[in-house]
Symmetry: C2
Subunit: 347 residues, 2 copies
């Protein structure tokens, strides 16, 4: 048996065994370590590519490959279909991840990527916030209260003493359900209406934008006065033409992308000239002292989704599954007894 | 349950139920139909990309995506590791295929691609030979007698009355085992030594080269006089710098690539200027009468592996599995009851 298959049931079992708090904290630690150790001679990450289309619904299927030399290739497939919740009662983002051994090319692990994508996106924002927000941050603003907002707040709550959350969503029912979805965190949440959005932005220590705003739409937050130390995690811009943050606010901020090459094409950085963009997150982390002053200034983490985070998260989950004896071994790839005979099983 | 998983056992069962002869003939028919119907407005196939490396062994892992608008995205992952047979008792090529629904992004099928790659590579060569070789072809020469040679000969034998096969491999034990591996075809096979290679080339009606020759090596066949109607299926060149056919022979021939853009980068077409290359196979098929004379001339099919063939083969196998009730339904992707709650299963 060559492939460890982690189904949704397996991941559910694993989450129950380990606990969601421990899972998030451990993943943050694994990502922190991997980002600081990141060496582009060892880890090769091309910008993702994919197919976008308008029929039958507007959507996008893309692949995010990563190579760790001498180790494995991870490939995450991601579907982004904004009509899914309304049309199909499915999440906007669905995903799966394969892990391949570079010694042989064999598929070693196959697992859900939907849960892991939400988890790692939250975890990476928490890490970015650790380096770019005041450690005393207490008030978190959230714009766009869908699936990603849950893990954003969860991850932030493991790094900061969050005392107040203010949330806004275009769809009031989504804001309302957010209260239930993050009830396990036991943090006071206030739902804001559209008219109060300027106030939400103005009072935040940390702000997360995680919307499905369409390509070419206006910014999802107004350009108002903010706390001078505001840190923004801009999660939703991940597609050419799709951005969330007002240009003028972005120009005033220290902007740190997860993956500059990709952020210039798909992130908030689309709005900026390359020389107006700060260093990648892993550079800030490697030189934390040099960038410590930024925690008192306006900063934006431009999160487009870095395949390194997926590779780390997939490896983390596979290791955890092996440790707890969760998952099943399957033969997805045909390995004939005689490697020269593709028909050995069939004649 | 969203994903049909076809393990090696499932495919074995399917092959036994259907029979390898019927399977090959049906796949050839499905590919023939899809190639003639190919419309680049509907089917989008970017050239494949991937990672190549030298540690721990020289190898390559690549992905071959294809989009059928309004239908599905197919992504084949392929490992090419020439040391596999000697170092790991594994085939050189191992592969898996995922099929994704463009309505929702969901993974609909996950299956072995190793067997299917060998099968479809043979099937496509048989189709190319139908359009570029004499229908009376009887003598097949094979250079490189590994896994691909089995399906090359099998597929050709379903289209031509093959009366004699002459085979050469660098490794005499591979030639010898080839006799056993294709015994089910009941065709006389003669093993040729290196000194007889010119004779093998000179007497063939159809010649298949399917070697793992290293990048930058000399041609795998000598440039000798051939039957004027010789058709060559050049299978092995699928990597920048890797070619099998002598330049002068190629210059004399009508060269038909499976996928011109990719063949110029990875196939025999690397040796040619773009204007020295003939039309893609599907063009020849759509205009069969116009190219009928080519069957009496020297022709080369430059097979680098076209993702359309994988998409058709994967769909073919999935349909066959559903028809026969083979395969198992699994939930690889997490689809929460509440699409806005990634934690719905875990809290």
């Amino acid at each position: 048996m060559h492939t460890t298959l982690l189904t949704v049931d397996d991941i559910r079992q694993l989450v129950r065994l380990v606990g969601i708090q421990t899972l998030m904290r451990s993943l943050i630690a694994a990502l922190q370590e991997a980002f600081i150790a990141y060496d582009e001679q060892i880890t090769v990450i091309p910008p993702r590519s994919g197919f976008s289309y308008e029929e039958p619904y507007s959507g996008l299927i893309e692949w995010m490959p990563a190579l760790r030399r001498g180790g494995s290739v991870t490939l995450k497939m991601v579907g982004y279909h904004p009509h899914n919740p309304h049309q199909h009662e499915l999440p906007t983002i669905v995903s799966s991840i394969g892990v391949y051994d570079v010694s042989t090319g064999l598929l070693r692990g196959m697992m859900d990527g939907t849960f892991l994508t939400a988890l790692r996106t939250g975890a990476v924002s928490a890490i970015a916030s650790r380096y770019l927000a005041r450690s005393s941050s207490q008030v978190v603003g959230i714009v766009g209260a869908g699936a990603q907002a849950v893990t954003q707040l969860h991850a932030l709550s493991t790094v900061f003493e969050v005392r107040q959350v203010n949330v806004y969503d275009l769809d009031p029912s989504v804001s309302e359900s957010f209260l239930r979805r993050i009830a396990f965190l036991d943090i006071p949440v206030t739902v804001f209406g559209e008219a109060q959005l300027p106030n939400l932005v103005a009072t935040a220590d940390i702000l997360c934008t995680a919307t499905s705003t369409p390509v070419g739409s206006p910014p999802v937050i107004p350009d108002v006065g903010t706390n001078e130390w505001l840190h923004i995690n801009a999660i939703g811009s991940d597609f050419p033409g799709k951005t969330e943050i007002p240009y003028r606010l972005l120009r005033r901020a220290f902007v740190v992308p997860d993956f500059p090459e990709q952020a210039l094409r798909e992130g908030e950085c689309q709005q900026l000239a390359p020389d107006a963009i700060g260093p990648a997150l892993h550079i800030v982390m490697k030189n934390a002292d040099a960038y410590a002053d930024m925690r008192d200034q306006l900063t934006v983490f431009d999160s487009t989704g870095w395949a390194l985070a997926d590779a780390v998260a997939a490896r983390f989950l596979l290791d955890l599954a092996h440790e707890h004896g969760v998952g099943r071994e399957v033969n997805i790839q045909h390995v004939p007894v005689d490697p020269h005979n593709p028909y050995d099983f069939s004649i």
